[in-house]
């Protein structure tokens, strides 16, 4: 099949970007979306034009490195990561628009590559359980009810790709933050730091210029790992409780 691409090109963080049109011919429907971009880049390189920069690594949907907005939808039409999207989801003659994540907290580095360091700093603010190596009791010392462990796991599957932020009209990072709050807060090990964690992470979230959450739900709709929207309810509950007892560190 033949595809027309409209791709966001931007040389560097402070440069102006623009959409550039490319034709890609003989696309095999079994190609992944990123392999189609590889083919484009090989062609551009041989013709002396700078290849399109995009983040990617594992190409099996788990590292969270890849992610672009495809025809206005974060990660495109299949509710999976960009690397797991295949060209059979498109048809001959399609025009596909490709843009980077757009959010104040994710400045563009080049073309489709953005800086998601803000996510790491939100984790630094409290997205952990303080358990220095060597201090652990036996793994069976504290049983964890299966329902709690499953709830924690579902939230912990977040891959930190940033699609939730890209999809949110407010560019909020609330689903990402809530996933970590829910993961750690559902486990007995996470209780001692639970109140400080939510306050410190929210403060950092706001300091990074993520927008506020107004419960629109676009985040959960595009999340390739299906992080449930009710993690945000959990975050709000935890935050209220923590502020009421007001013992943040």
């Amino acid at each position: 099949m033949n595809i027309t691409l409209r791709v966001w090109r931007q040389k560097g963080r402070d440069d102006e970007g623009r959409m550039v049109t490319y034709k890609v011919e003989d696309v095999n429907p079994d190609m992944s979306f990123l392999e189609m971009l590889d083919v484009l880049n090989e062609k551009l390189t041989l013709s002396g034009e700078d290849p399109v920069a995009f983040d990617h690594d594992c190409r099996e949907g788990i590292c969270g490195a890849c992610g672009v907005v495809i025809n206005g939808v974060a990660h495109g039409p299949e509710n999976t990561t960009t690397c797991q999207l295949h060209m059979r989801s498109f048809k001959d003659g399609d025009e596909i628009t490709i843009e980077p994540w757009r959010a104040k907290a994710f400045p563009v580095v080049k073309d489709l590559v953005v800086d998601r360091g803000s996510f790491d700093r939100v984790i630094q603010a409290g997205g952990y359980i303080s358990a220095p190596t060597g201090t652990a009791p036996d793994a069976h010392a504290t049983p964890v009810p299966k329902a709690d462990a499953d709830r924690a796991f579902d939230a912990a599957t977040c891959i930190g790709c940033g699609a939730c932020v890209a999809a949110c009209p407010n560019a909020s990072g609330m689903l990402f933050t809530a996933a970590k709050i829910t993961h750690l807060g559902s486990m007995p090990q996470g209780q001692p730091e639970r109140e400080a964690r939510v306050i410190n992470m929210i403060n950092q979230h706001d300091a990074e210029d993520f927008g506020g959450c107004t419960n629109i739900g676009e985040c959960a709709a595009v999340c390739p790992k299906g992080i449930p929207l009710d993690t945000i309810s959990q975050l709000n509950r935890d935050l209220l409780g923590a502020l009421a007892s007001s013992k943040p560190e």
Binding site: N28, D30, M31, S32, D38, V39, E42, T45, L46, D50, P51, H56, D57, C58, R59, E60, G61, I62, C63, G64, A65, H86, R88, V109, V113, D115, R116, G117, F119, D120, I123, Q124, A125, Y128, I129, S130, A131, P132, T133, G134, T135, A136, P137, D138, A139, H140, T142, P143, V144, P145, K146, A149, A152, F153, A156, I159, G160, H183, M187, Q189
Partner: protein
């Protein structure tokens, strides 16, 4: 063969204590010198890589009070490729009361490694495995649990006990996120300085000690020098020398190879693991291969048509015209033979022209019988996520049509040579995780990679590196130090050269060609004739690369083609060493199968009298014959036997 390499003096692991095997780790921990907490602040350590081995080490060293500088090429340490491990992590907890013990895990691992790993190291790994699970649970890793709230276990290939802890099919992700969070906690505490989007391009050795690295800031292109009292490489394996593998696109050998060029011995480079259950290649555009958990072999039956060139829809091929070749050749283990054996059997039937799917490079993994036996809902509950993944990638429904699978490069057992302290042949350079060679011998068992990465990072390195650091802090250095300046200049010169060739071929096209050579001649089956051919072709290809590659753009920007070019340049040197190592080892063991060394019925044949040693290679120059140093392997606790799975 002497023209390809020369033999030097034997080497030995001088750090492993003697005596009863279960006391050796205690002994070493006691004999290793300590650094008192007040002095740790004055000592610094560079750690390259943030996978399980790197992130766990950085967090632990930071907690201990050292000043740690951590580096990764990804945009966040959380993306390192440990994250993709599916199955689980072994530990000798014996929570199942099924006869497991530290000694049994040790025994299984030595045997699984086909008697080419060190007993002392493997025993320590088994001892430490128990502490890893405790540590991860304390961090909040959401392992699978039973209704009573206790941890669940499952069993894995090559063993008879249930000792594998798991978190659905995402164990690597959950363990890595645990280590990543511990690391970020130390970043916040100020003990770890994190450098993302930084790639190590050279090692700095001063007065015979590893003292720093040259790294490129991948966003600005700035060539930076970083100094420390010790350097740790936790930079992963080199499976991407084959171009197609289950590794992430960015996985590379550059950090290890640069250290090798500076004097670190590279051990057993030819030991690569080819995993039998991966989704086959679908076209020339293919960029990577995806693994399907080998748990599928518990219920799926593997077959090909009996006749060559049978193009019928698999569902129309009657039972008596199918060859369930693993069940036929290995009646007692059937579809559950170890990875290396299953992979080679698939290659053999495809070589006979009986392979299925595009290009005839695939075999069927059929769940029709399982669905009949267990019912579709049960199959869905057990394998649903894997079936979905298969369907997403291939567009075929495995509940209706048999899956097609083919082996793919998955893990590299070889790596930089280290002693019992995980120190390489360069003082002050330590190597952990997949980047070192030490624990898996010639073949790794399932669920053991995660165990080794975390054992090295959380428990082994932090206890052994003290003994080295006790002599520090060493003299202060800066970018004007001649060795540092020379290293940075050589990096700049190499980048300038790559950017100035302006030839006709893309980096990927040369990388693909290298991959084809390696897969054809240094893949599942190797022969003297093939390996010699491969060495000649790699040399020609290297020449072509340095005269005809095309890398656009400049150094002072994000330049992904330039990053790839540097990595491929190093793969072009590593590939030659792998072939030389494979050529010199005229025996079959684990993942290394030499056509000339097989039993009458085509099984791997080891030659323990000649080859029971670690081959540690010393670099002498690009294209120059490397020097082979042998480290003899002795087995006091496990009797050496030929494996049999018939």
């Amino acid at each position: 063969m002497t023209e390809l390499y020369t033999e030097g003096a034997p080497i030995a692991d001088e750090k492993a204590p003697a005596g009863p095997i279960n006391e050796r780790w205690d002994k070493r921990r006691f004999s290793a010198r300590l650094v008192n907490p007040a002095n740790r602040r004055k000592l610094s350590v560079i750690i390259v890589g943030t996978g399980l081995a790197g992130a766990s080490a950085a967090a632990t060293m930071g907690e201990a009070g050292y000043h740690v500088k951590s580096f990764c090429y990804q945009d966040s340490p959380r993306r390192a490729h440990s994250i993709a491990a599916q199955g689980g992590i072994n530990a000798a907890k014996n929570y199942r009361n099924d006869g497991d013990s530290i000694h049994r895990l040790f025994y299984d691992t030595v045997k699984g490694g086909d008697f080419r790993s060190r007993e002392s190291n493997v025993y320590r790994l088994s001892q430490v495995s128990v502490e890893i699970i405790d540590q991860c649970v304390a961090q909040g890793v959401p392992f699978a649990r039973e209704y009573g709230g206790l941890l669940d276990n499952r069993s894995f290939g090559g063993v008879q006990v249930s000792r594998t802890f798991y978190a659905r099919g995402q164990t690597g992700q959950q363990l890595l996120i645990g280590a990543y969070q511990a690391l970020e906690r130390q970043v916040a505490a100020g003990t770890v300085e994190m450098n993302t989007r930084h790639e190590m391009l050279e090692l700095i050795v001063v007065d015979g000690r590893a003292r720093g690295i040259v790294a490129r800031d991948m966003v600005t292109g700035e060539i930076e020098t970083h100094f420390a009292d010790a350097v740790v490489l936790a930079s992963g394996g080199y499976g991407n020398v084959f171009f197609l593998s289950t590794n992430a696109m960015g996985c590379n050998v550059t950090a290890s190879w640069r250290a090798h060029r500076k004097g670190a011995h590279f051990a057993n480079p030819c030991y690569t693991q080819i995993h039998p259950t991966c989704i086959p290649v679908s076209g020339e555009y293919q960029s990577k291969l995806t693994l399907m958990s080998e748990s599928l072999r518990n219920d799926g039956r593997i077959w090909v048509p009996k006749e060559t060139g049978d193009q019928r829809d698999p569902r129309e091929i009657p039972e008596d015209e199918r060859d369930y070749y693993l069940e036929r050749i290995y009646p007692s283990f059937g579809n559950l033979v170890p990875r290396d054996i299953a992979s080679r059997a698939a290659k053999n039937v495809c070589d006979e022209g009986r392979g299925v799917g595009p290009g005839g490079l695939g075999v069927y993994l059929d769940f029709a019988d399982a669905i009949k036996r267990m019912g579709r809902p049960a199959v869905e509950a057990k394998y649903g996520n894997l079936f979905d993944m298969y369907q997403r990638i291939t567009g075929e429904n495995p509940y209706e049509v048999p899956m097609r699978i083919y082996p793919a490069v998955h893990y590299t057992m070889g790596g930089l040579w280290v002693d019992y302290d995980l120190q390489s042949s360069i003082p002050g350079l330590f190597v952990t995780g997949e980047a070192n060679f030490s624990d898996h011998g010639a073949n790794r068992l399932g669920a053991s990679a995660l165990m080794q990465g975390l054992a090295d990072g959380y428990f082994v390195l932090p206890n052994t590196i003290n003994d080295y650091l006790a002599d520090g802090p060493f003299d202060a250095l800066d970018e004007t130090t001649p060795e540092a300046k020379e290293a940075a200049d050589s990096v700049r010169a190499r980048i300038d050269k790559l950017l100035s060739i302006d030839g006709e071929r893309t980096v990927d096209s040369i990388h693909k060609e290298l991959g084809h050579i390696m897969w054809e001649y240094c893949g599942m089956e190797r022969s003297e004739e093939g390996l010699r051919k491969a060495i000649d072709r790699i040399r020609e290809l290297r020449e072509e690369f340095w005269t005809n590659v095309k890398v656009l753009g400049s150094n002072d920007e994000l330049n992904q083609a330039l990053e790839k070019a540097g990595r491929v340049a190093d793969f072009l040197e590593l590939g030659e060493l792998m072939c030389i190592d494979a050529l010199h080892r005229r025996e079959s063991c684990g993942g290394h199968f030499r056509a000339e060394s097989q039993t009458e019925d085509g099984e791997a044949l080891r030659h323990d009298d000649e080859f029971a040693y670690v081959a540690a290679w010393e670099f002498t120059g690009t294209g120059e014959p490397p020097v082979l140093h042998k480290e003899a392997l002795e087995y006091e606790y496990v009797e050496m036997k030929q494996r049999s799975y018939k």
